[in-house]
């Protein structure tokens, strides 16, 4: 027991080493939060284009070109590891040393997540019965009005569990931030390990923090899901 207290003291209290993890926590939250927002916006737009073309709702050439761009985006992003994307974003695209690492991470993870969110949204939109669409159009709603007022709310409810899963994956995926020397939870814990030569406690602490965040997130989503289920259906 004394041994444990001594190790705890060494890893977290001495030299205020806990701050590596605390700072990292902030970074993990910031990167995950803004990347999720970017991912949802990107994913929604891509899903809109893809499902419009899939449904044959428009024959415009601009949309066909956009659809091709979206398909390339989905293939490239889903076909390469997030870590490679992050490294390319930091070292190749923004090779300048002045660029904020956090910004690069948000952009990279946001673009990555957007591809997965797009497919989630698209499956949600396609899962809505075509009759809903026809009912909206027959009342005089335009394609986009039907999408916003009738299809999207139902699609969102259907994909909520998958979407929550994606956010949880995203949160854990940000643990590779250390590769561009950005201190997130993982990198913070690893820094402590490299100073104290004591791997168990810092890594365990990091794992525990991820676990707690994910558990809380899952609980919140479950609550939201139950709420959405009670209104309607």
């Amino acid at each position: 027991m004394d041994n444990f207290i001594a190790k705890f003291q060494l890893n977290f209290i001495d030299d205020s080493r806990w701050r590596y993890i605390a700072d990292g926590l902030g970074t993990t939250f910031t990167v995950t939060f803004f990347a999720a927002i970017l991912g949802v916006i990107l994913g929604f737009l891509v899903a809109l284009v893809r499902s419009t073309v899939d449904k044959g709702g428009s024959k415009s050439i601009v949309l066909k070109i956009l659809d091709t761009i979206c398909k390339v985006y989905l293939t490239v992003i889903r076909g390469t590891p997030a870590m490679i994307q992050l490294l390319i974003m930091y070292y190749v695209i923004f090779s300048s040393p002045d660029i904020s690492k956090q910004f690069v991470a948000i952009l990279s993870f946001g673009i990555n997540s957007g591809a997965y969110v797009a497919e989630i949204f698209r499956s949600g939109i396609m899962s809505i019965d075509n009759g809903q669409f026809e009912a909206g159009r027959s009342l005089g709603f335009s394609y986009s009005q039907t999408m916003i007022h009738i299809i999207a709310p139902q699609a969102f409810k259907n994909v909520l569990p998958a979407l929550a899963n994606e956010f949880i994956t995203l949160l854990k995926e940000t643990s590779i931030c250390g590769y561009i020397a950005l201190t997130d939870i993982t990198h913070g814990a690893n820094t402590i390990r490299s100073q104290t030569y004591e791997p168990l406690l810092p890594l365990l602490a990091a794992a525990l923090i991820y676990l707690v965040i994910v558990t809380v997130l899952s609980g919140l989503v479950g609550k939201l899901e139950r709420k959405l289920r009670t209104d309607g259906r």
């Binding site: 026809e134 009342l139 005089g140 007022h149 309607g232």
Partner: protein, 246 residues
């Protein structure tokens, strides 16, 4: 609008899916106040014809004129005209995430710029007319099929349409619920609503229809007053059809 004004003028309407010609040069008119009942064997194109009238199916040939405007013209803003053309579907297509009242007021509020109060007042009045005012705050999943279809009918009425298209409105209903829906439709017809109805209910066609149209192989094979249509059919395909369904 004067009585007997032409609402729909359909000229050489064609629709094909790939090589398959579903509608084969259909020409007819629908006048104000008419109740046109469209019958025919399944796969004859009668639903496709009805769905072409508000361009849910895009015709591949010919033209449709609605209230003097060519709605098949690509430059025409179809959303505007669909507001005047109500539609009732076989599977009701109520919005499951909205209450009955919200189902009915969504389009009037967003498209006709009605105030929420005014739209709700109108909706409640219509609900009373079909005896469902106590369902205003229920969700569609809490209703029976017949109730859903009655709501679908009054939802289309909320837009004050000039004509309502019915696509097999009773085909998905349990037999004991068919009557309540047909009664609402009869009331509408009595009030002078222009209607085009695809149905298998020959009794409704006889009793309420002002004209019955037989569509087979993508063509109008015969159209006539209900009396002539049922008592004195001329087309051999129609005779065969009637002998099977009556």
């Amino acid at each position: 609008m004067a009585d007997n004004q032409i609402l729909f003028e359909i000229k050489d309407l064609c629709k094909s899916f790939g090589d398959h010609l579903v509608l084969d040069h259909i020409s007819t008119t629908i006048k104000q106040g008419e109740v046109v009942v469209i019958v025919g064997p399944s796969g004859s194109g009668k639903s496709t014809f009805l769905r072409s009238l508000n361009l849910l199916e895009e015709p591949t040939g010919g033209s449709i004129t609605f209230e003097g405007l060519n709605i098949t013209d690509p430059k025409c803003n179809i959303n505007k005209y669909r507001q005047k053309i109500g539609m009732v579907f076989q599977h009701f297509n109520l919005f499951p995430h909205k209450t009955i009242l919200q189902n009915m007021t969504l389009a009037p509020i967003k498209l006709l710029n009605k105030s929420k109060e005014e739209a709700e007042r109108q909706a409640m009045e219509l609900l009373r007319r079909v005896g469902l005012e106590e369902k205003a705050n229920a969700y569609p999943s809490q209703l029976s099929g017949g109730q859903k279809q009655r709501i679908a009918i009054v939802r289309s009425l909320c837009m004050d349409p000039d004509v309502i298209l019915f696509d097999e409105p009773t085909s998905a209903l349990d037999p004991e619920m068919v009557g309540e829906v047909l009664n609402v439709m009869k009331d509408l017809a009595k009030q002078g609503m222009t209607m085009a109805v695809v149905t298998h209910e020959m009794g409704f066609a006889k009793e309420v229809g002002t004209r019955v149209m037989f569509i087979d192989e993508g063509q109008i094979k015969e159209e006539n007053s209900p009396k002539e249509f049922f008592e004195n059919p001329k087309n051999p395909r129609l005779r065969e059809f009637l002998s099977k369904v009556l």
